[in-house]
């Protein structure tokens, strides 16, 4: 059936997409990742309709109730329902992960494209990127958060600044290879303008590796957000993010471990599924690497 359907496709289907589909069939883990991720996204999107209550409503009489039929994930020290908080927390983590992935990829792409092509700018920008990359990403984000007001927007900006230099590096190395390709030389010889070369001939060929990189950035951004929130330099405490819930449960860990364990499991599971998806895409797009990694 499947082969018949494949043969029925128009012959013009790009080899990239065909490779994509084949590899996904061969990589059930990537499919599992995609399914779990979709489930998490669904949880985040439909949180109000999944048996949750207001994640901020406090009930001092019901504080620190262990997980039960009534409170699936228990309640915290203010009597807030942890299940509801974890579900709403999915919104924060996923939003930040995706926003950072998009922002750092877009910025990294723009800077990488230009520096890969303009030698004089390259020297200056790459020294700055080397410097930025020498600061451990978590610390750079901490410094930025210490200097700005805690808000989701600032968390996104701080993590983007910390993640972006690696994307620039990747795009630049791709551009340096691509610019030597005969078709780029041909375009130059034909008198094509620089912006057109970059956009029409170079940009499309950076897309596949960039997509893979973006998934890894997304995974790493979600972990960084949790770390920042956990040590008190991240999302403001009035927004329930997974890191925040764990940070609040920290001091009570020995008597109410579930405060840390439930959001921790959700975070790990989400990051795992993003990583599996990324690995699947990388294998699909680079068959040579697939064997090795």
């Amino acid at each position: 059936m499947a082969t018949l359907a494949l043969e029925g496709q128009p012959a013009s289907e790009s080899p990239t997409w065909r490779r994509f589909r084949e590899a996904f069939r061969r990589h059930p883990t990537a499919i599992a990742g995609a399914v779990v991720l979709l489930a998490m996204a669904g949880m985040a999107a439909f949180a109000p309709w999944l048996g949750t209550v207001d994640p901020e409503s406090v009930a001092p009489a019901l504080r620190l109730k262990h997980p039960s039929a009534e409170f699936w994930f228990g309640t915290d020290m203010l009597g807030r329902d942890v299940y509801s908080r974890v579900l709403y927390g999915a919104r924060v983590s996923l939003t930040i992960g995706i926003a950072v992935a998009i922002a750092s990829t877009a910025l990294g792409l723009a800077i990488g494209l230009v520096t890969g092509y303009l030698r004089w700018l390259d020297a200056v920008i790459m020294r700055i990127m080397d410097g930025l990359m020498s600061i451990p990403p978590v610390l750079l984000a901490i410094a930025l958060m210490a200097l700005t007001k805690a808000s989701m927007q600032n968390v996104i900006i701080a993590i983007t600044v910390a993640e972006m230099p690696r994307v620039v590096r990747l795009v630049r190395s791709l551009v340096l290879t691509l610019r030597e390709e005969p078709y780029v030389e041909a375009a130059i010889a034909a008198g094509t303008t620089l912006p057109r070369i970059l956009l029409r001939h170079i940009l499309p060929n950076t897309m596949a590796p960039l997509l893979v990189q973006a998934t890894y950035v997304c995974a790493s951004a979600m972990i960084t957000e949790a770390i920042l929130s956990f040590i008190g330099a991240g999302t403001p405490p009035n927004i329930p993010s997974w890191g925040n819930i764990m940070a609040e449960g920290r001091s009570l860990f020995q008597i109410a471990g579930y405060l840390v364990i439930f959001p921790g499991i959700c975070l790990s599971l989400t990051v795992l599924s993003v990583n599996l998806l990324g690995d699947g895409m990388r294998d699909a797009l680079d068959p040579r690497l697939a064997r090795r990694m």
Binding site: R127, I128, D130, G131, L132, S134, I135, P136, P137, V138, L139, L140, I142, A143, L144, M145, A146, L147, T148, K149, A219, I223, A226, I227, F230, I231, G232, A233, M246, R250, F253, Q254, G257, V260, I261, G264, I265, L267, S268, V271, L272, N275, L276, D279, R291, R292, M293
Partner: protein, 313 residues
């Protein structure tokens, strides 16, 4: 060779200068009034003025930067806003726990990860290989503090084998020092092990496909001798590279690990500084950690000459 070493030293200095410039200029480029943010919500105008004065935010950028770099070159990282103590002094007090934790983790991680990667590559496709790869993906995905809490729950609270939290100086009692660092090292090292094992495996697979490996096998060398003496040494460059780059993960993770296990190190100092918005301390910590990172990677670069004698710059 000497010329290469000198050139690498020179570029290291440039990178450190850029790091200093970045860390310093963050104070100027962040939107809003950093002095007001650092002072906190309850601050009076007087407090804000005092902090602005102290950080020199009133002076022109380059005057201030020049003075700051000059002090830096004399080993002066400024003074803490909160305690008024020199930052170098505050960091100096905290070096031992952090150095203990990160070095122990580094040794542990390399000792575990490289053999794992080698065995996985030697038995590529086997269940062992798959187990190592599965562990590697998991290691990347479980954040250090989640793993830390699971370890505490199992080994400290449930089984009561190891202390839940705290730190003991190595000078006081070596075994107690080690006992307190076992769980933190495992929690901190797992992502690092995952990274190194993965790259070791990939690099080994590359080398094992080479002709000279077949020759070594054909002349009857014992498999371990081929694997270690011929393959691993030639697979060394990517492995030491990732060990160097991975130090960044180790440093970022140490901040969190120290918080979870109540280890009084530089990470704990940083977290306290964040709560008090004590920017000079954060600045100092970043500089010290980045310098350590850059130096390790300089050593890594120089080690290439050992692993691949063809590299003659």
């Amino acid at each position: 060779m000497l010329a290469y070493v000198i050139r690498r030293l020179f570029s290291t200095i440039i990178v450190m200068a850029v790091v200093a410039l970045v860390v310093f200029s963050l104070l100027y480029f962040t939107p809003g009034d950093p002095a007001a943010i650092l002072a906190g919500d309850a601050a009076t105008d007087d407090d804000i003025r005092r902090i602005r004065e102290k950080l020199g935010l009133n002076e022109p950028f380059f005057v201030r930067f020049g003075g700051w770099v000059w002090a830096l070159l004399h080993g002066d990282l400024g003074t803490s806003i909160f305690t008024n103590l020199p930052v170098t002094h505050l960091i100096g007090q905290r070096v031992e726990p952090t150095a203990s934790l990160t070095l122990l983790t580094l040794v542990l991680a390399v000792a575990v990860a490289v053999p794992l990667g080698v065995v996985a590559a030697a038995r590529a496709g086997s269940w062992l290989d798959r187990a190592v790869m599965a562990f590697s993906v998991l290691g990347f995905s479980v954040p250090v503090f989640v793993l830390a809490y699971i370890l505490i729950l199992v080994f400290s609270i449930d089984l009561e084998w190891l202390p839940v939290q705290g730190y003991r100086s190595i000078h006081e009692d070596f075994w107690d020092w080690l006992r307190h660092l076992i769980l933190p090292s495992i929690a901190l090292g797992t992502v690092y092990i995952a990274l190194i094992a993965r790259i070791t495996r990939a690099s080994m697979l590359d080398v094992l496909a080479q002709d000279y490996i077949r020759t070594a096998q054909a002349k009857g060398l014992a498999p371990p001798a081929v694997l270690i003496g011929h393959a691993l040494k030639n697979a060394g460059v990517p492995i030491v590279t990732i060990i160097g780059i991975g130090i960044a993960l180790l440093i970022g993770g140490a901040v969190v690990t120290e918080t979870v296990f109540a280890i009084p190190g530089i990470g704990r100092l940083t977290v306290d500084a964040i709560l008090r918005r004590d920017y000079p301390i954060i600045q100092g910590v970043i500089l010290i950690f980045s310098a350590a990172y850059v130096l390790v990677n300089l050593l890594v670069d120089l080690s290439y000459m050992f692993f691949d004698p063809r590299i003659r710059y």
